[in-house]
Every structure is written in C-alpha cells, then in structure tokens.
Point group: C2
Chain length 296, copies 2
Amino acid sequence: MTELTSRRLEIDALRALWAIRHHGGITRAAEVLGLSQSAVSHKIKRLETSLDCDLLSRKPGAPMFTPAGEDLLDYAGRILGLHDEALLSLSKTSLAGRVALGLTEDTTCTDLARILGRFRRLHPNVSVRTKVRMSLILRAMLERGELDAAIIQVFAHEVRPTDLVLFREQLHWVKHPDFALSPEGPVPFLSFDDECFYRRWALDIGQDGGVVLETVFECASAAGIVAAVTSGLGVALLNGRHLQPEMEIITQGLPVPPALAYVVRRGRRVRNPALDTLVGEIESEISRYGGLALVS
Amino acid sequence: MTELTSRRLEIDALRALWAIRHHGGITRAAEVLGLSQSAVSHKIKRLETSLDCDLLSRKPGAPMFTPAGEDLLDYAGRILGLHDEALLSLSKTSLAGRVALGLTEDTTCTDLARILGRFRRLHPNVSVRTKVRMSLILRAMLERGELDAAIIQVFAHEVRPTDLVLFREQLHWVKHPDFALSPEGPVPFLSFDDECFYRRWALDIGQDGGVVLETVFECASAAGIVAAVTSGLGVALLNGRHLQPEMEIITQGLPVPPALAYVVRRGRRVRNPALDTLVGEIESEISRYGGLALVS
DNA sequence: ATGACACATGACAAATATCGATCAGGCCAT
DNA sequence: ATGGCCTGATCGATATTTGTCATGTGTCAT
C-alpha cells in the first residue's frame, strides 16, 4: 500500500522546492512561505524519501540542487502554474474591460510577464495594452491619465499607501577595481539616459554631498552601463541584480545611495474592475511566493 | 492565515475528482482509489470548502458535476498528467531500444494513446513501432515474433498468468426492440469481419446451443454494426461500451456470451528492457486509476 | 411501504505536519 | 586555531489533517 501512497507529490512540497530555488535557501524560503525552517526542511526530506532520491545536494560549494532536483523543479514550475491558474479560474467572473498598463524595461523579464499572459487567458474579454517606458515617463503618463496603472521604480521613502510594493532594492555605487577614485576633481559618472530616475538623484547630490559628478557615459540599457563599469570607465549606480563579481562596491567618499522600491501605482481613474482583478492577481502571487521572481 | 492555506488544491483530492468522473460516482471511485466511500466524500467536501464553491451538483437527474467542477476537472487532468510524468521522469533511466507493439482498433482511443505519447517523450531513444490489427492477426504476429507485445482481446478464461489485464468486458446479444427474434429458423447475425474474434465464438455455438446463426451483415468497424442493429437488421454481439439506449439486450434463447478481457500479451523474445518499462508504466497507470479510461 | 443504493455526516482514532529548541558543520574575521 | 555567525538537520511535544466506522438521508424501483 505504501507503494502507491508514497509515490505522490504534494503541491505544498513542490511549492517549497520552488521557493527554495527562487529565494536561495531553506531558511529564506521558510520565511516567505510563512513556515518555520524546520517545517520546510522536513517537507523536502519527506519528498526525497517518498521519491527515494536526493533533491538537494547539501554539499557546500556545489549547486544546491541535484540533477534530479532540477528535473523535478521544472515539473514543479509547470504544475504550480497550472495549479494557480486553476484556482484563479474558479473565481473568474466574466470580466471585461480595458487596462492600459505601463512597465519599465526591468520588469518585463520578471514573473509579471507570466502573470499578464495568464490574465489574458483567464479574461479574454479584457483588453490589456502594455507600454514599456522609463519610470519618469510612466509617472507623467499616469498623471495625464494615459495609463490605468504602471509598474515603476520609486524611492523607498516615496512609496504611497496606495502603492503595491513588488519588491525592494538597494542601489550601490560600483566601479572596477582597477579604476582609482581620486578624492578631488569631478567623479566620472556612467549614467542611464536623460529620463533616468537614478540620474536625477545622482546629479542632485552635488548640492549637499559636495561631490561633483561628471557624466561621461550615457546609455539607456543596463547592459551598456555594466560594460562601461567593468571596463573601468568610471562609477555607476546599479542595483543588486546587475552586480558582477568583478565589480567593487564603493562605500567611502560618496553619499549612501537611496533605497528603491518597485511598485504598482494606479492612476486616478475611479473604477476599473479589470484592473482591480489584475492587481489582485499580482498581489496574491506576491503573498504566495513572498515576492516576484526577478528573472524567469 | 486560513486565507492562504485554504486556497490550495491537493493532488489527492484532484485525483479523487478525476476518479469520480471516470468511474461515475463516489462509491466506485472509492473502490478504485482503495479508500472508503466516506473518505472520498470527505475529500471532495473539503475541496469544496477550501474553494468555497460546489463541485458536485448532488441533484438526481442532473449532471453530476457543476460547471465549476467541470472546469476544475479539466485542470485536474492536466495537473495529474504532469504530476505522473514528473514521477516517471525521476525514475527514468537512459533507456534505449525498440518496441514493436500491436494494438486493436478499440484500444487506440483509450488512455493507451496518452501513455504511449508520454513514453516517447520520456524515452526518446526508444523507437516504438505500433501496428493496429485485429486481435486474431495480432496473436499470429506475436507467435511469429513480429511483435514484442500486443494489446488484444481474449476470452476471460484464456487469460494467461503472464498477461497484464487492462480491463474486462462483458459481451451482450443485442437487437432493436422492433426486431422480433423468432424461436425457429436461423438467427440473422450482424458480424464483424472474418478475423473477428467474437465471430468465431458465435459461429461455434451452433454445435452445442442448437442455435443457427446466419451472417447477414459484415463490417469491420463497430460503428457499422451499431448502425445495423439500430436499424433492426438482426442481432449482434456487442460490448458494454457500444450499447445504445435504443438497443435491447437479449437474455433469452441465445447462449450466454463469453466474458472478455483486454490484455497486454508479450511475445516470446526473452529480454527487452524498453518493453519492460513500457509495460510497467501501463501497469502503474492501471493500479493508480484502477483501470484505464475507455475513452479519452 | 420497503429494500436497495448512493451519498452525507459525525465521532473518533491514526497518521502526519508543524513548531520551538537544540545540535552540527562550514565560513569568516580576528 | 578560535569564537561568532549562519544554515540546515534533528528531536520531542503538540496541533492538524485524514481516514474509518457507524449511521442518517434522500431517491428509485418494486
């Protein structure tokens, strides 16, 4: 009888496995799942016992997951996707309407793409128009009522009560180790382009910090900035996701960079049930996984 | 806290739902799942509570599943498919080889097609050659070693210990109500074609039953026989799956038809690991669901 | 009516999950 | 090395879940 009973995966266990992968570790995953660390440890152990194979390698230095674990992880992702969609589909009302949504380039490659895709499937009568722009532009569009909502970056201290926080992020001053930062003279600054949000802050710091930045490089995409930093062109403001091993974080001589948040900010339009639902789905995804996966 | 915990489907519950659909009822499903009837009833109730909606209608006469139930059933099927494939993929060895498999036309539209498809995906290095023929032909091919295994119909009393029984079936003599069966004279018989397996039995009964059959209609496909019966051409031997509401089962005046079984019968080739695995997968599918779904 | 049948329900027992505490091993800075 | 510090494993005590048995309720065919 154990033969049959044991060969059965549990949704919860799969979700735990997934969380471990996407938050890098059992302890982290446990927080996110709202469980104790031991509970998650047990869950995985049970899963391993029932499958009679190792999923986590438990060897330092080595990748956390065994090949079998990676395999299962793949299935887990697909199963969980279906599972969550099934739950949503049961609560689906025949929703119709329009949503004009703004995104930053950053967020297009997160779980949001997946959520939007699913939203379209579940609510085929809602037309979703998505525009990808820079944060400052999106804000202006929200102001002008051109968007119903947008996913934008804001300073952590500017988060409004009505914003839905997707995740928080810290900016860092970075440079290449070979690049020597001289205490005098203007600091060569590698900047995103005009409408970049960090840039405003960076250029403003001249006033109080006494540091003068000189923009020596401009590029709209993060990849360009990363390349410029690693070739030692100067210093840049980058978020944790873009840090490379060969970059050095500057802790001295420059003002502490601001904390950021990615939020869903709604426009002023009063009622939009389709948007309510979409935001609700994003929200429940966050509460289920304790945040969005940054890369998919 | 219940908010998150409750909104979670359980694999077991989905499997129960699936079993209820495919075995037509809670009690039947319970047997198949190796549980008590109340256990399954509880399972579904819990599922309904956690989803806060009805899945089974519990109204006599009406379809057993609510629309929500049907919806979920669809997801359940997909989730269970992935789930089972995940389990299999973990035990997959890099299997290679060849399998020559025979099928009857009947079995092509059962779960077997699904299992074969999955088998190909999981073991891309195994080449599976499938031939669809009538049972008697398949037997001959097995004898000659042209097939490694075949799924054939046999009389229940002819099942060999080495056969794997997929499902059992009872044959019935059927006719249209308007067709009067006269006690004298030959009985007009609607027959599958030459190599049909029932036909042999039917023609043999002349000896002991004293009944003489006259074949008045021959057709290779079940659809043709069904049409002939409903137009009152004569009597036929049909299995339960092909019974139509307007058919009448004949219980008097003709010998009791034999019980049949669909089995996987292996050829005489000694070793074939790929075949072993395939048969194993079919077997575990059967033990998991208590048989194969006859129509997919 | 009445028995057969299919399902629901409630009480209780067994299995199983979770938690908090504790322990063991690795990593890092002194 | 050594002591903090972090991560994960393990243990015993509870809490929850899940199943079974016994029984109740409705429908249907006789």
